[in-house]
């Protein structure tokens, strides 16, 4: 499909006069006329024609400091604004993460201020046609429907699907909104991004986040990327990685089914079969144990149950590993040796590791490898999990998930009571908002809601099989790309069964066009992050403050204002904003930040007050590029963005924690121990740290989490002020709202969350020690007997979840080829936003499938041919063939950013006029299949089966 250079003149020129800012050149017709005129008349001079571009203004320049919204690296940006128009973008050379650098997406940010393909005003679908409506009408109609459905089917019939594109304040407000609406049916993209990481890693050593920082990668001696391709997904991270490679000769190892662009920069590339990560890691550990390369002292002091791992690993001899992964013994040994000889080293993983039915096993296996090498809690080491969206870390921390309240407090009564105190709401009133019936998973208030990965089944599943009153009846897609989700054809079916779909987004998104409905769909234009302000959490846990660059374009409104409007209609606006100032209908961002500061003790989101964050934002230049620490200036000694945990209150002035579990630093200066999250003993064995502690700790051994009673036992209670004592009595470090317990613990250089061992055995998980299990759709039927998947589960996150019954069916006869998916540097996520940016869209105009030359020859396919890729469940996509040795002969790859085509049909005309992205294409996930992680319901996108035929 070649793009047609059509520019639609927007009907509405309200707001800032978009027509003036329409920079795209009009069609070439004018030039022909001009040429002819020149030919006829004298002097026959062809003046250079001027395309309509950003105006050049003499008005004063306001420079705004903002953060790129395209990935979690968190690149700083100087946006220059004149008369409300974003006229220039300058590199932020003084920003400690990117030093002014940008990838294609970041370098084109300014176009967000000029996008003409936006959703321009509220609309609804009436008899198949989009009709414009006012905000008041839209809120009234949508609100009435929500009230009606809530009355009829209970609050769980409505799904509030939030977004990693929210800033922290909006993400927090959205979770609060869902709670007050009386449901846990809320989630965001972390579920289909790093949920298996968060679960797996947090259950290994405490927190499920990147342990070190991008800047700290510069100190690594070896970096192993497994299922991660930063050159396309996190390009600016490569600046740090290449520095490590150049300055300290770090070994770069890439383990991937695909020879990625990162592999092109690596010292060593290992091709593995998709879905064989655990076997690969066990294969490395086999050589490490065999050669005694593990760090025995580290393991003795800080790791629990490595022996059980040793037993499991013993089964993964080189021959077994080669059979499962396809990697020969020599390459395995070489990789293990490189890791062992080049310490400190780190492992980096992304979607290639997480998006599997066995995702939680994968992530724990990576952690165990690093623990064996003694790489966790040291500079240059770590489990460096690169998060995806710009604020997926923040939205996760702020609990925009179906299984937790903000701060990973969970959904137990204690968690609800904690947050009810912060919100200053009556717990009983809060409880009354929920459906009181008890279902298979328990009462809805305390049971995990349906996940974003499974909302389709939440609509389609039999009512009796769902652990709530009814199926889902209405969906709010509040900043979500449905084409990033698997099982496209079933999704379309689910959309048709819904009573109402509401899409709240700056763009119409694929959800707005793929449903094949004639009514019951609403589009509400949301502002982008450049049209509002607030804080955003980067992948390294740093919080950064964004300025508002421009006013919302067209009639769009910031997300938190839309939440307020809806809450007002639904009758709980006063509760939602009880301690939040509301200007007109817009809640004050700073007040939301302060409110979340008051409750987020678990992960240390308490020290990052708006004032401190703004100080950091205004003083980028004072932070060191290597350490991210401020040298002098108003933030002297702070780590940039106060990477969480930033303990205690803002007044306490904790500098943030640049490296998790780093015992070489004092806790008051960012040091830590492993968190004592899993009790103090297991089967009689002590699981607290053994003789190791953070620098200058007054407790020189392992210790449990701090509580009021523990302070008393230690004789430190009287160090609390009287006010603190009143609040802290009977509380612990997570629930003491005064922050006194944390303050006193840190005064003695102890970690408030205790000092324990990391655990290799997660006894609460289906596989306590990670196991290799074949994918549900595996091409290796011969391995199924030895490495089978789990039994089907009757109810998990309210839904039946299938494993064995899927794997049992052998479809390899019809679908012999392994299908995997991934990213392109020019686009992000579902791609609606980036495909609507002409500067980016021009770079990738075709959806394609990568096919190995040998496979292409087998199938009679040449480069550029149209082919049908049909997934194992029958979803078909028509795409262009890209013949490349990048993939192995038995594997094909598709990028997942495309949308707007569905099984061969263009959906272009279903977009509201003038809002279709420049580039449309088939969504890879139309062809992907069933498969959900056994702990988090992560979807399987990286390993399924397909067949390919040349399209006629």
């Amino acid at each position: 499909m070649r793009l047609t250079r059509k520019t639609d003149t927007p009907k509405s020129t309200s707001g800032l006069g978009i027509s003036r800012r329409q920079f795209l050149k009009r069609s070439g017709a004018a030039t022909g006329g001009l040429a002819a005129a020149g030919f006829m008349s004298a002097p026959m001079m062809q003046r250079a024609e001027s395309a309509e571009k950003t105006p050049v203004l003499d008005a004063p320049v306001e420079t705004k400091r903002t953060i790129c919204s395209h990935c979690s690296v968190g690149c700083g940006v100087y946006a220059e604004v004149q008369e409300g128009i974003w006229t220039r973008q300058e590199p932020a050379f003084d920003h400690p993460f990117n030093r002014g650098a940008h990838c294609a997406k970041g370098a084109s940010l300014r176009q967000h201020g000029h996008s003409s393909r936006r959703l321009k005003y509220p609309m609804k679908l009436v008899d198949g046609e989009w009709q414009r409506m006012s905000w008041d009408e839209a809120i009234e109609e949508i609100g009435n429907k929500v009230l009606e459905l809530t009355g009829q089917h209970g609050p769980d019939s409505i799904y509030w699907l939030g977004s990693a594109k929210f800033n922290n304040e909006q993400a927090y407000l959205m979770r609060k909104f869902a709670a007050l609406a009386g449901t846990n049916n809320t989630d965001h993209q972390a579920r289909i991004c790093h949920s298996t990481t968060v679960a797996g890693v947090a259950n290994t050593w405490g927190y499920g986040a990147m342990t070190n920082s991008l800047n700290d990668l510069q100190n690594s001696k070896s970096i192993m990327f497994i299922g991660s391709n930063p050159t396309e997904a996190h390009p600016v991270a490569m600046q740090h990685i290449l520095l490590a490679k150049e300055r300290s000769q770090a070994q770069i190892i890439v383990v991937d089914p695909r020879f990625t662009r990162t592999a092109a920069k690596a010292d060593s590339y290992i091709r593995i079969r998709p879905g064989s990560d655990v076997a690969f890691i066990w294969g490395l550990l086999w050589h490490i144990f065999e050669n005694g390369w593990e760090d025995r002292e580290y393991i003795r002091q800080r790791v629990y149950a490595m022996d059980e791992v040793r037993t499991e690993v013993a089964n993964f001899t080189p021959a077994v590993v080669e059979n499962i992964t396809g990697v020969p013994e020599a390459a395995m040994r070489d990789t293990a040796r490189r890791l062992a000889e080049n310490r400190p080293g780190c492992v980096v993983w992304c979607m290639g590791g997480t998006q599997h039915t066995t995702g939680n096993n994968n992530t724990r296996a990576y952690c165990i490898l690093e623990l064996a090498l003694g790489n966790i809690g040291v500079s240059g080491g770590g489990a460096n999990i690169f998060r995806g969206h710009d604020n997926v870390q923040g939205a996760t921390d702020l609990g925009l998930m179906s299984h937790s309240l903000p701060g990973y407090y969970g959904l137990a009564e204690g968690a609800w009571r904690h947050w009810a105190r912060i919100w200053d709401l009556d717990y009983e009133w809060l409880e009354s908002r929920f459906d009181q019936t008890e279902y298979a998973d328990g009462k809805p208030m305390f049971s995990n809601g349906i996940t974003v990965s499974r909302w389709v089944d939440g609509v389609l599943e039999d009512e009796e099989a769902i652990s709530q009153r009814t199926q889902l009846k209405a969906m709010f897609y509040w900043g979500h790309a449905v084409n990033s989700q698997t099982r496209g054809p079933e999704m379309q079916k689910a959309m048709q069964q819904l009573e109402m779909m509401v899409i709240v987004d700056p763009y119409p998104t694929v959800a707005g066009v793929m449903h094949d409905r004639r009514d019951g769909v609403y589009l509400l234009p949301a502002a982008t992050q450049f049209e509002t302000y607030g804080s955003v959490t980067a992948t390294n846990r740093s919080l950064q403050w964004r300025d508002k660059v421009i006013e919302p374009l067209f009639e769009s409104k910031p997300d938190h204002e839309i939440m307020y409007l809806l809450a007002r209609k639904l009758g709980f606006a006063d509760e939602l904003c009880k301690h939040i100032e509301v200007n007109g209908t817009e809640p004050l961002i700073e007040d939301i930040t302060r409110e979340l500061n008051r409750g987020m003790w678990t992960v240390g989101y308490t020290g990052q007050s708006p004032e401190r964050l703004k100080t950091h934002q205004q003083n980028w230049h004072t932070f060191d590029f290597h350490t991210t620490r401020a040298e002098g200036g108003p933030a002297d000694g702070d780590y940039y963005g106060l990477p969480w945990p930033c303990w205690g209150t803002a007044e306490m002035g904790h500098p943030g924690t640049p490296i998790l579990y780093d015992t070489s630093k004092r806790v008051s200066e960012g040091g830590l121990t492993f968190r004592a999250r899993f009790g103090i003993e297991r089967n009689g064995e002590n699981i607290l740290a053994d003789g190791v502690f953070s620098r200058d700790s007054e407790l020189e051994d392992g210790y449990p989490e701090f509580t009021a009673d523990m302070l008393k036992d230690l004789g430190w209670w009287d160090e609390l002020t009287e006010e603190e004592k009143r609040e802290a009595e009977g509380k612990n470090w997570k629930t003491d709202l005064s922050g006194g317990i944390q303050r006193v613990a840190i005064a003695h250089e102890c970690a408030p969350f205790g000092n324990a061992k990391a655990r290799c055995n997660v006894w609460t998980f289906p596989d306590p020690i990670p196991k290799h299990r074949e994918p549900l759709y595996t091409s290796r039927r011969d391995l199924v007997a030895d490495y089978p998947t789990w039994d089907d589960v009757a109810s998990h996150y309210r839904l039946p979840t299938l494993y064995r019954s899927i794997q049992e069916k052998d479809v390899t006869g019809d679908y012999p080829i392994i299908l995997t998916s991934g990213r392109l540097v020019e686009y992000e996520g579902g791609g609606e936003e980036t495909r609507s940016m002409s500067w980016l869209a021009e770079l990738q105009q075709e959806m394609f499938v990568e096919i190995n030359p040998a496979l292409a020859n087998d199938l009679g396919i040449a480069e550029g041919d149209d082919v049908w890729v049909e997934g194992a469940e029958g979803g078909r996509v028509r795409v262009k063939a890209l013949v490349t040795p990048r993939v192995a002969r038995e594997v094909v790859f598709m990028p997942f950013h495309f949308g707007g085509m569905f099984q061969g049909e263009s959906l272009h005309d279903r977009y509201p006029e003038g809002s279709a992205p420049y580039v449309l294409g088939e969504a890879a996930n139309t062809a992907t299949t069933y498969g959900y992680d056994s702990v988090t319901q992560m979807q399987e996108t990286k390993c399924t089966l397909c067949r390919i035929e040349k399209a006629s």
């Binding site: 040429a35 020149g38 030919f39 002097p43 001079m45 770079l843 105009q845 040795p885």
Partner: protein, 348 residues
């Protein structure tokens, strides 16, 4: 004198070609003043030897990708510098030498030898030589040829003279007008040329006496006697066949350059440009001779193409065989007005 003209007319082109070839040989050593390799080395230093060779060759192999969506250009345009050198060092200077040389020779010839008058007095009886259709075709083609030659010369040499002479504003109009005239009229010229070539094909088929004509140098050798010539003499036939060969090549190469919308490669356009320039400059030089002989150089020629009729004497002296065939049709001057019958053709 007449014979010298005819001789020169005939041998001009081969002589020129020889001259150009000799000059090229001498020009060789002073080539390669630019250093694109140096620029490439500056631009992309951190490449290993293999990559470097790949880059330099311009050949980029099967797994080559470009961020430009529909680009078919390799990383390095390896032939660009060659094209530049051929155009700027060879074609441009020697084209000028050819044309100026031709002009100088004509001026010299005219000054020394002067006009070729009819040997016998005019009889006053006229023979129809060119019909109105033929004349209008000739003059259309001639006009277009002159416009294309002038605009083409302006494209090649204008900047050295007019830009400094008239200033940027005027020059901008002048050069863009030149380009447009050249590009839009070129294809029209091509169409008309094909028609006129078809129309005159039969008259210009070579015959035995043409060989004699050439041996006698069109009358230069063996004084006082015109060699035999039919409707077209040997010299005219050479001009015809030059147009039918080089002319068509110039047109074809011009079309390659004029219609980039068909996506022809940059390399194809480079070669087309060289072929076009060499052919067109050569034809222009020859055309000067044609124009001289047809106007100033020979008494009685221009009136043929102007009125359609030639004097009996002119016909007898220059085209004796044709004259023998058509002399019975000779008419008095006053009878020729309005006459539009086709002149008889050679039947054998």
């Amino acid at each position: 004198m007449n014979l010298l003209t005819e001789w020169l007319h005939t041998w001009r082109v081969p002589l020129l070609a020889l001259l150009v070839l000799l000059s090229l040989g001498m020009a060789g050593p002073v080539l390669a003043q630019a250093d694109p390799e140096g620029e490439i080395a500056t631009a992309v230093p951190a490449t290993d030897a293999d990559t470097w060779r790949q880059v330099r060759s311009g050949e980029t192999g099967p797994n080559y990708r470009d961020s430009r969506f529909d680009s078919n250009y390799n990383l390095i345009n390896a032939s660009g510098e060659t094209w530049r050198q051929i155009r700027n060092r060879w074609v441009s200077p020697f084209g000028l030498i050819a044309i100026c040389g031709m002009l100088a020779m004509i001026v010299l010839f005219y000054l020394i030898v002067g006009r070729k008058h009819l040997d016998e007095p005019r009889t006053g009886r006229k023979l129809l030589r060119w019909t109105a259709l033929e004349r209008s075709l000739h003059w259309s083609v001639a006009t277009l040829f002159i416009i294309l030659a002038l605009t083409g010369l302006n494209l090649l040499y204008g900047k050295f003279l007019f830009k400094t002479l008239f200033g940027d504003a005027f020059w901008a109009g002048m050069i863009s007008g030149s380009k447009m005239l050249h590009n839009y009229l070129g294809p029209l010229f091509g169409v008309l040329l094909v028609i006129i070539l078809a129309k005159f094909l039969v008259r210009n088929l070579p015959s035995k006496h043409d060989w004699t004509w050439f041996k006698q140098g069109g009358g230069l050798i063996g004084k006082g006697r015109h060699p035999d010539a039919g409707f077209a003499n040997g010299g005219e036939k050479v001009w015809y066949w030059l147009l039918a060969t080089a002319g068509l090549v110039v047109i074809a190469s011009g079309l390659v350059l004029d219609f980039p919308n068909y996506g022809q490669s940059r390399d194809a356009m480079q070669w087309a440009n060289i072929v076009h320039a060499v052919g067109a400059l050569g034809l222009t030089a020859v055309a000067l001779g044609h124009i001289y002989i047809g106007t100033l150089g020979t008494e009685g020629s221009l009136e043929g193409m102007a009125t359609g009729y030639v004097d009996e004497t002119w016909a007898k002296e220059h085209h004796n065989l044709w004259y023998e065939e058509v002399k019975h049709q000779a008419a008095d001057a006053d009878e020729t007005l309005g006459e539009e019958s086709t002149p008889p053709q050679r039947s054998s």
